[in-house]
Subunit: 150 residues, 2 copies
């Protein structure tokens, strides 16, 4: 966690992005690190945890991080939290709370609220279109015998 | 949406990944497409929407997708939904519902539940560590005058 905190502070000083970093560890060894690179790489998904997950999966050569523990300098936003679930990590430790983040100008509470809201009550208008045709993609998946489940 | 559906079906046939694709449009023109590449790129964050957002931001040269509409072949999971909010897109259209996805073996309802749960009731153990030290990263951010807010 001390390394994650140090990397988060360094990331501000170097101007790479926001004050966020994550370190992924397996069996006591660091597998990968990630720092926030949203503004420097023009990538709104380049939060520290997502960057670290991608780097760790590349290092391990797998699309799952089974047995890995994630140390992140701040409580994950819903995007990063979901990414950590998809990556199937073992445990999450965080330093700053979401409240600390909000006080520093990084408030993601609206996003936790939006994710819990019915589709027709969300801030970004969301509508279904061509459901009858879209199902063809899932039918193709069902019919495919040579596929990698995930 | 027809293009997103066709790309999702193609993605299964080509073996690149799951039956998901997204198309991002601005002013009636396609800015970028994205297909699910979780298994082919060993990246659990490479859902169609995330891949499309990253490609669109690269194409536009910005970390926001202001004015962009997203057509995704399936209702977004919480990771992708959050990514779409961070990207600040204008509207979301989806083809398959989350229920259709669950029937095809892609059930993300547990994730919507987890995101809404208090930290100490989540499936992945989540704990705070060194909060007093972590705040230094936010203090560095506050002190930094030459920074790009996002």
């Amino acid at each position: 966690m001390r390394k994650a905190i140090a990397l988060a502070t360094e990331n501000v000083v170097s101007g790479l992005g926001g004050p966020f970093a994550a370190v992924i560890v397996r069996d006591g060894e660091i597998v990968a690190i990630g720092v926030n690179q949203v503004t420097s790489t023009n990538d709104p998904t380049a939060h520290a945890e997502v960057v670290a997950i991608r780097a760790a999966c590349t290092a391990i050569g797998d699309f799952q991080l089974t047995g890995c523990v994630v140390y992140t300098s701040c409580e994950p936003c819903p995007m990063c939290l979901s990414a950590l679930y998809w990556a199937r990590c073992k445990a999450i430790f965080y330093g700053n709370s979401a409240g600390d983040a909000a006080e520093a100008g990084f408030d993601d509470s609206f996003l936790y609220e939006e994710v819990s809201r019915p589709l027709d009550e969300r801030r970004i208008p969301t509508k279904r279109l061509l459901g009858g045709e879209a199902i063809e993609s899932f039918n193709a998946w069902r019919a495919q015998t040579d596929k990698i489940e995930y």
